[in-house]
Symmetry: C2
Subunit: 222 residues, 2 copies
């Protein structure tokens, strides 16, 4: 399967690229607003994988070009860039592609991080509004600790929750998630359930901040 | 330590009473709007504990009487009864007591369960507004699977998150939580962080509903 990771130069994008590169045989393309930036990062990931005896060729392209050939397009960009990014690649998406959104909106005050719920109901719903109507949108990878994900020496042993209106698309993304060792995909149903998933991310940060010895937290449903 | 469990005849109250009765030596008092109902349940819990060779005497009283002598008062009532219950016992609380609130507000639609955030910002904040100003309020035990908690044969291995403005009070409730085998207390900071914790409860229900073999879920931060 060909996976395009838009914003694949950012922290979650990097983690997903390295894990899929290491644990699976999917074709990966890093997307960025600038092709050269994507190329630099793709080579960095190839070098990292090569140092672990995984010879992987990772593509690099400007976002819309990266999206064009992909079966699954992960929009790994900050929430405030999400709608723009999706609109900029809309022509490259169709009913055969799946758009995946891991973005979460947060705000911070003196007490800690808080979920910043957008008017659409959730950032995942906002992505669905920005995407062409025929493109299935799946929310996933919202609650992953980015540094730990990008550190191939670190064990995961955590869950990722999937939401979206198209159950087949959720299943496909669940398979992609399950390909990453130590990551368990769990189905969380329709788009309306996304806000509570996204709200977990600021909570994970707050808990790490208040408890000695805990950092880079993920979550496990048990 | 004396713990009063108001609404101790309900499901979370039952679980906490049985676990504290089995795992600790705290003095427990079950509170209810009717003393006779509290008595019936307290005897039921005593019988269950006795069948496991734990001879424990559990008190029973009308809510305000139960609260009067307690160091810690757990308001284990539904969110829509929380403010009323707290106001009905307010005279029995002072700056030496700690009020604990595990309540979560939820609504349900065809997609699943959703967090029903009250105007106060969270149900925990609503409890703090209802309580006398000098009484420290701690949000805890929001995300516990009630049936599993009440089944002493079931292992927990899950976390509970604590929020509140008074760090000493959080520590005391954390110790009470840690007294329950398999339950790990984690500090989540001030009251402003409560909404994301409460929002986890509908998510746990949705995830259990959408994944075969998962039920009575708790959460573990890892």
């Amino acid at each position: 399967m060909e996976i395009a990771i838009l914003g694949g130069t950012g922290d979650i994008g990097q983690g997903l690229a390295l894990r899929w590169g290491y644990d699976t045989d999917h074709d990966l393309v890093i997307g960025s607003r600038e092709q050269t930036k994507a190329r630099t990062k793709a080579e960095e990931y190839e070098t990292e994988l090569d140092s672990r005896s995984r010879e992987v060729s990772i593509g690099a392209a400007e976002n819309s070009e990266a999206a064009a050939g992909a079966d699954v397009v992960v929009a790994a960009v900050p929430a405030y860039h999400l709608a723009d990014t999706i609109e900029s690649v809309a022509d490259a998406l169709d009913d055969e592609s799946i758009l995946v959104t891991p973005a979460v909106g947060m705000k911070r005050d003196e007490a800690g991080f808080h979920y910043n719920r957008p008017g659409a109901g959730s950032v995942t719903a906002l992505a669905a509004e920005a995407a062409p109507e025929e493109v299935p949108v799946v929310g996933a990878f919202h609650n992953l600790p980015a540094d730990r994900l990008a550190n191939l020496d670190a064990d995961l042993g955590i869950d990722t929750l999937l939401v979206g209106e198209d159950a087949d698309a959720r299943d496909i993304v669940a398979d992609l998630a399950a390909g990453i060792e130590g990551l368990r995909p769990l189905d969380a149903g329709g788009l309306a359930n996304a806000a509570e998933i996204e709200g977990l991310t600021p909570l994970l940060i707050n808990v790490a901040q208040h408890n000695d010895g805990l950092h880079d937290l993920g979550v496990r449903f048990d």
